[in-house]
Every structure is written in structure tokens, then in C-alpha cells.
């Protein structure tokens, strides 16, 4: 370690003001502070001691909370692959297929995103923000396993440049960066991100007899036109090649086709527990998203005129990306509501809109992405009302 420290100390003056590579100071700083936490001390006036937390640790905590989803997702990619081609395979084989498919997506996401971050930090002379550590992991987890790597790269670049840097960098963006990437793919390449992409199937591979790549959301949407019961459709799906693929247990544990990290409600709940226990994510938002979705589901049950509306409300909590969105996307501190009261409203509305969009919008089966992006835009308005209420309380007090 001493050697590394000495090397850094020797190199440092080149990057400081007046040095040869002055321009690249923030790039150097980002790398240096990753190896060693800085030796700066508190100023002479003000607090003399500081809390041990820093942004790197906070962001790392979120990444740790995502690892159950990631590991399960890697396994599930392989598992679904072998299910679809009708082959028996061992645990290690499934993981291996998953790693081969997922790792390149992660590398591309981090490579492209961090590359852009470093370029912008050098051009605009601001520190490299740790926020991308989380975004860079979120993007792969919301991608279909079969996605071409160039699309990952383009989506990441779009999200970071247009979604974030155009607004002034980390902390200034209005919309969640990872969801911006996903939305970009959806609107730019609609044919490639729907249909048969949710299971990894290399070209030329024969699928098992009776195979279908339909997702629970698609099945539920289809049942509106067919007039069939959603739950029985889900239960009978996969018969012959993957019995009970969409049983409620499977939907909850996430052993089904879908985005890499989104399928498992169980893993998301483990992540939610980590975020809650470490205080890294707002439990108020997570709880209220689920509450909003469930409440809307119940309301639709009551007013049901088609099979999708009749689908039991708790199914809404386990199909699609609701859990993942609630736990990891909606809680993004930059784009969520910032007041404590506002967080309840914000989360509840996301849950509500998710179900609304799912049930009533035939064009796009997955509601959570659009619901979160929509509420990202409305979050400042929610805060505005909460802050105004605080101001009014203060004014009222004066007249008493």
C-alpha cells in the first residue's frame, strides 16, 4: 500500500494547479480517492469532527442491496435459457450462461457511462460524482438478457448525456437516469425490446415444443381481448415445457423470463430490507409504492369490467418490474420527492399510476417505468406544496 501511496503522492503535483496535467485533476482525484480516503481535515471554524459516511459508501450500500437481484438474475438468465430450449442443465451451467450474457452488459454500461462522466468532469471542471456507480448497475438490471451490446451503449450514452449532463450533472437531473436509458430503448427500438427478448436465445437455437416468450403482463393484456381469466391463463402457461412457470410462487420468487434483475420480488424485498436497515433508501417511498399499486388494484377489482381489472390486486405486486422499480428506482434521492410528507404522496402515486397504465394502456404493458418517470417530473410540484404548507404554518403562528 505504501508503494501505491508514494506513487500517487509523486504523481499528484502534475495534476494540481500549475501542473502538466492540471486539466485532468478531477479524473486523478476520482482514482486517488478510490484507493485512499483523503487526508483533508475539517476547517478551523465549524464542526471539528465529521460523520464517517461519504457518498462513495452510501452509493456502495445501494449496490450491495442490488447484488441479490443481480446474482439471482444471472442464474435466472441461464435457467430460462435451458427451459426454453428444453434441456436439463446443472446449476453451474445455468450460472455460466448467465455470466456470459450479463457480464458484457455490465461492462458496457460502466465503461460507456463512466467514460462520459470522466470526459464531462474534465471539460466542466467538477468532481466525478459517485452516483454513476449505482446507475451503471441499474441499467443492466433493467435490460432484457438478449439485448445487443451496441444498444446498451447507445442507451447509456443517451441517458447520461441527455438525461443527466444536459441538466448540469449528478444531482440536477429531473428524471431517473437508468429509467431514461430503458425508456430510450423502448421508444427508439420498440421492436427489439418487446416480444421474444426476455429469454436468452442465440440465433439458430431450436426452442422446445410449445415455447412462448409471452410475459405475465402480455398475457394479462391479451386476456382483455380474449375475455379469459388472467389467473387461470397464468397458471396454465408453460404447460408441457415449463409447468407452473407463472404460478404465484414463481412470480414472487422470480423464476420466469424478464429483464435481468427485475423478475424476483423476493430478491427486491431483500434489497429493500438492506436499504431500510442501512437507511440508504427511503422506506416511506417503497412502502407507499406497494400500497398505491395494491389500492389501485383493489379499486379496479371493485369496478371490474374486463378480466385484467378482475385480476387479484396482489398479482400486481409481483408481475412486471413493480418491486424493482419501487425499491431501486423510485427511491433515487435526486429525482424523488425531497420532503418527508412528499415521499408518501410520490410513492403512492407511482404505485397507482403503474397499475392504471398497465390495465388501461394496451400499447405499453409495463407501467412502472412510465409511472416513475411521470412522478419524477411531478416530484418538485409535490415538494412545492409541502414546503408551502411549512411556510404557511410559520405565518399563521405569527398572528396568534
Amino acid at each position: 500500500m505504501k508503494f501505491l501511496r508514494n506513487t500517487l503522492d509523486k504523481a499528484k503535483h502534475n495534476f494540481e494547479k500549475g501542473g502538466k496535467f492540471e486539466k485532468y485533476y478531477y479524473a486523478f482525484e476520482a482514482l486517488e480517492t478510490f484507493a485512499f480516503s483523503p487526508n483533508t481535515t475539517t476547517s478551523a471554524k465549524g464542526v471539528q469532527i465529521r460523520d464517517a459516511i461519504d457518498l462513495k459508501r452510501l452509493m456502495m450500500t445501494v449496490i450491495i442491496a442490488m447484488t441479490p437481484c443481480l446474482i439471482f438474475g444471472i442464474f435466472n438468465v441461464g435457467h430460462q435459457h435451458f427451459l426454453a430450449i428444453g434441456q436439463e442443465a446443472g446449476m453451474m451451467d445455468k450460472f455460466w450462461i448467465g455470466v456470459i450474457q450479463v457480464l458484457p452488459i455490465i461492462i458496457v454500461s460502466y465503461g460507456v457511462g463512466l467514460g462520459i462522466e470522466f470526459v464531462f468532469s474534465t471539460l466542466r471542471r467538477h468532481p466525478v460524482n459517485e452516483g454513476y456507480l449505482v446507475t451503471g448497475m441499474l441499467i443492466p438490471l433493467v435490460m432484457p438478457p438478449d439485448i445487443p451490446l451496441w444498444q446498451v451503449a447507445v442507451a447509456t450514452a443517451f441517458a447520461v448525456i441527455i438525461g443527466k449532463e444536459a441538466f448540469g450533472g449528478t444531482g440536477m437531473n429531473v428524471m431517473n437516469v437508468a429509467l431514461t436509458a430503458r425508456a430510450f430503448l423502448y421508444f427508439a427500438y420498440p421492436t427489439q425490446i418487446s416480444g421474444e427478448v426476455w429469454t436468452y436465445l442465440p440465433e439458430g437455437v431450436q426452442t422446445v415444443a410449445g415455447y412462448s416468450g409471452a410475459t405475465p403482463l402480455a398475457i394479462a393484456a391479451q386476456s382483455v381481448t380474449d375475455g379469459t381469466n388472467v389467473v387461470s391463463q397464468l397458471n396454465s402457461f408453460g404447460t408441457g415445457w415449463a409447468d407452473g412457470l407463472y404460478s404465484f410462487t414463481n412470480l414472487f420468487t422470480g423464476i420466469m423470463p424478464g429483464s435481468i434483475g427485475e423478475t424476483s420480488t423476493l430478491m427486491c424485498l431483500i434489497g429493500a430490507f438492506i436499504l431500510w436497515a442501512t437507511g440508504a433508501g427511503s422506506w416511506k417511498i417503497m412502502v407507499s409504492v406497494f400500497a398505491g399499486a395494491w389500492a389501485m388494484g383493489l379499486l379496479l377489482n371493485g369496478l371490474a369490467v374486463n378480466p385484467y381489472m378482475e385480476m387479484p390486486a396482489h398479482y400486481h405486486l409481483v408481475i412486471g418490474g413493480l418491486a424493482f422499480g419501487a425499491v431501486f428506482m423510485a427511491t433515487d434521492p435526486v429525482t424523488a420527492a425531497q420532503t418527508e410528507t412528499g415521499k408518501w404522496v410520490y410513492g403512492f402515486m407511482i404505485g397507482l399510476f403503474t397499475v392504471l397504465i398497465r390495465v388501461f394502456n394496451p400499447a405499453y404493458p409495463e407501467g412502472i417505468m412510465l409511472a416513475i418517470l411521470l412522478m419524477n417530473v411531478f416530484a418538485p410540484l409535490i415538494d412545492y406544496f409541502v414546503v408551502s404548507a411549512n411556510k404557511t404554518r410559520r405565518l399563521k403562528r405569527a398572528t396568534v
Binding site: 500500500m1 501505491l4 501511496r5 482525484e29 480517492t33 478510490f34 484507493a35 485512499f36 480516503s37 483523503p38 487526508n39 483533508t40 481535515t41 475539517t42 476547517s43 478551523a44 471554524k45 465549524g46 464542526v47 471539528q48 469532527i49 465529521r50 460523520d51 464517517a52 459516511i53 461519504d54 457518498l55 462513495k56 459508501r57 452510501l58 456502495m60 450500500t61 450491495i64 468532481p127 460524482n129 459517485e130 450533472g169 449528478t170 444531482g171 440536477m172 436497515a277 442501512t278 437507511g279 440508504a280 427511503s282 434521492p333 435526486v334 424523488a336 425531497q338 420532503t339 418527508e340 414546503v387 411549512n390 411556510k391 404554518r393 410559520r394 405565518l395 403562528r397 405569527a398
Partner: protein, 454 residues
Amino acid sequence: MGKFIRLKKGFDINLAGKAALKLSNTEQPETFVIKPDDFHGIYMPKVLVKEGDSVKAGSPLFHDKKNEKIVFTAPVSGEVVEVKRGEKRKLLEIKILADKTIESLPFTKYSVSELANLNREKIQEQLLTSGVWINLIQRPYGIVANPEETPKSIFVSAFDSHPLAPDYSFIYKGQENYFQAGIDALKKLSGGPVHVNVHSEREISPVFAQVKNAELNKFSGPHPSGCAGVQIHHIDPINKGDVVWTINPAGVIQIGKLFLNGAVDASKIVAVAGSEVSDPQYYKTYTGASVKKFLANNLKNDHVRVISGNVLTGTSIGKEGHMGFFDQMITVIPEGDHHEFLGWITPTTQKVSFQRSWGLFSFLTRSKEAVIDSNMHGEPRAFVQSGVFEQVVPMDILPTHLLKAIIAEDYDDMEALGIYEVIEEDLALCEFVDVSKHNVQSIVREGIDLLANA
């Protein structure tokens, strides 16, 4: 009857090196200073003494050019040895080499019953000419109280909730009569009640418990329950146009002594505490004392930070510095200017954190006394709304929004979001817990200065 206010939000930092309840008999420090920077709202100090002048306790050293009535006087008798100025001849400090026995200028002496019949003008005049007046701080803004104004109430916080804070029942022991006389005098200055606030779970000194002529309120909960701003917010909140004064018990006692003894007596008992002090204990001295003698042969190692005041609101003054006017303690902690390999992720129970992020296990050992150095533990970053500010401010104030309004210099918003109710110390915990390492207290002061000079 006083009120009972239960506070939940906040954080007690359990630091190592608490001062033992004993008084050292080390000899008095040689020099004492008074620094204009310890006070806010002084327009321009006009120095009234030269180097070499001899002064008594209560002799004027300088006054404010804008308000000449507000006089800053010597805490001890002796010789003015230095009038230290900085850039643009800004007055930094006036240093006095103290006599062996401290003498005060004579002021009018009153008995308790005479004091009861004294009118507001007489009290005010004696406080101003003796320089004892400057103990009174005005809210909003945290500036030296303006004698032209009548506050709607006066607040005395009778406990200190800061880390390692001195034990008030020890340092004010036996001062009942002076404290009561001080309260009686303050009652005449206040347009409303005088509030004396104690902590319900701590030993309440008879000095405060038996106080008459004032409201005795009880608070419970962690720091910042002892900050006057928090107490005012819950008992008699400041709205636009309101004026409230605050004063610490040491100031009240000094007022009492001024009237009962007819003398300026700036003596006080201070705590010398912190993990790097070999023998943390109390010392009897005067306002503005040099810390040199307290620390001689009393430090565990050489690489330390000496703080006048506590670790949240104090000032680093060095091993030969002088204490600030209002400070009642010296804290010595290790200097933290070292790199740490992978320090941002290594799991530890040693580093204290209000938060429970990955690897920060100090929340499991909260009852253990911790050694904390002056390291920043991270780099400055953009604001992240992680919701922690809100957990350490026990007031109906939105700290993040207030801070952002200040940074944006939005006067209307600052006012509406409650800037009149806070000074630096009330939000000091935000600065401690901040993930993005902002200097919250200096931001608060910038905002206050903007409004005060508007």
C-alpha cells in the same frame, strides 16, 4: 408554570475524554484576549487603548463605531500587551498580560432589595458601561443585543447538550444568589418572561431549580435540545419582526455579580476535555484565557487539534491560543490528516456515524466512548437528499430547503423557511452528518448576514 417539551430528533455523540468533576490548582494563565470575531453584528470596532496601557477588569478596550454604547471591556486587570490587527487593519484581538490579583473598576453596588426597585434604564446603563452587556445575544441573527430594543422574552439554556460539555451543576455550584440577581435584572429588561430551561433527565442544579421571577421549562431528548434556538422554537417562536434575547448562565451570574458586588468579575470554570488530554478536568480562570498552561504536560501526544469550545461549534486555536468569549470548554482531539487505504468502504466499528450505511457498525456500540479525529471522511459533493438533516433538527424547519434558499440568495424563501429562528449552532449537527460535506454553519451565517444587512 414552565412547560415540558419532549424532543426526539437529534444525536448525542459519545466522545472519549470527559472531564472529571474536580478542579485543578494549576496557576492562572498569563494572558487573556478579547476577539471581536467572537461576536456578530459589530460594524467596526474602534480601539480605545494602546499597547502598554494598564487596565482594570471592566476598562473599555474598544467599542462599536455604529453603536458606541456597546463597549467591550477587559476581563482582567493588567497591561495591554498587544493590539493585533490583520489585513486592512482589521482588529483581530486585544491581549492583556494579567496582574497577579485581579482588580475591577468600581461600579455601583446594590443589595437584593435595592436591585428589585431599580428601573430598566439604570440596569441597562450599568450593564453597558461595564461591558457585561455583550453577554446578551439577540435573535434573529445571533448578534450582540441592541439596547434600543425590548425583547419579547429572554432565554437561558441551563444545560449544555454538546459532546463533552461541562456539567453545569458543577461549574455553577454555589452561585444561587448571583444567578437569581442576574435573573431579576434581566426580568426588568425583558418585555415578557425570562425562561430558564433545564433537561429533565439530568441532575438539575439548585442554582436553577429554585429560580424565582422566571419560567422553569424542562426539555428531554438528545442534542441539540440544549441549543437556545431549539428551545425558543418550542416555547416562544420568533416570527418576522420579533426579538428574543439569549444569554448563558455564566452571563447571568456575571450580571448578578456586577450588581451585588459592584465589580466586573469575568471568572469562570472551564472544562478541559477530549481523548488526547491526559487528565481531563476543570480549571478556574477568566474569559479569554490562554490555554497554554492548561495543556502543558497534559497531552497524550503532540499531533492534536486544540478547540476552544466543543467539537460541533468550536474553533481550532492551536496549543498556545486563547479561549473564545462564550466558550466554557477546551476540547483536544487527534488531528486527522492521514490517508486511509480503501477508507471509504472498509467495515469498522471505530468510526462514529449517525448513519448505518454498509460497514459503519458504530450504531452497535453507541454506548462506548469514541475517539474521533478531525478527518473529513470524504470529499465535498453536491447535495444528496438522504433525509438525515431532517432527523437531527428537532424543529418544524426544512433544513435542506432553507440551506438551498440561502445558497440561491432567495430572501423571501429564507424568511419564509425560518432563517430568523436559527443560528449556526442549531444546525451544527447537519454539518456533522452531511454525506456531501458542506460547511452548513458557514452557509447559515452567510444567509443571516444577507438578511441582517439587507
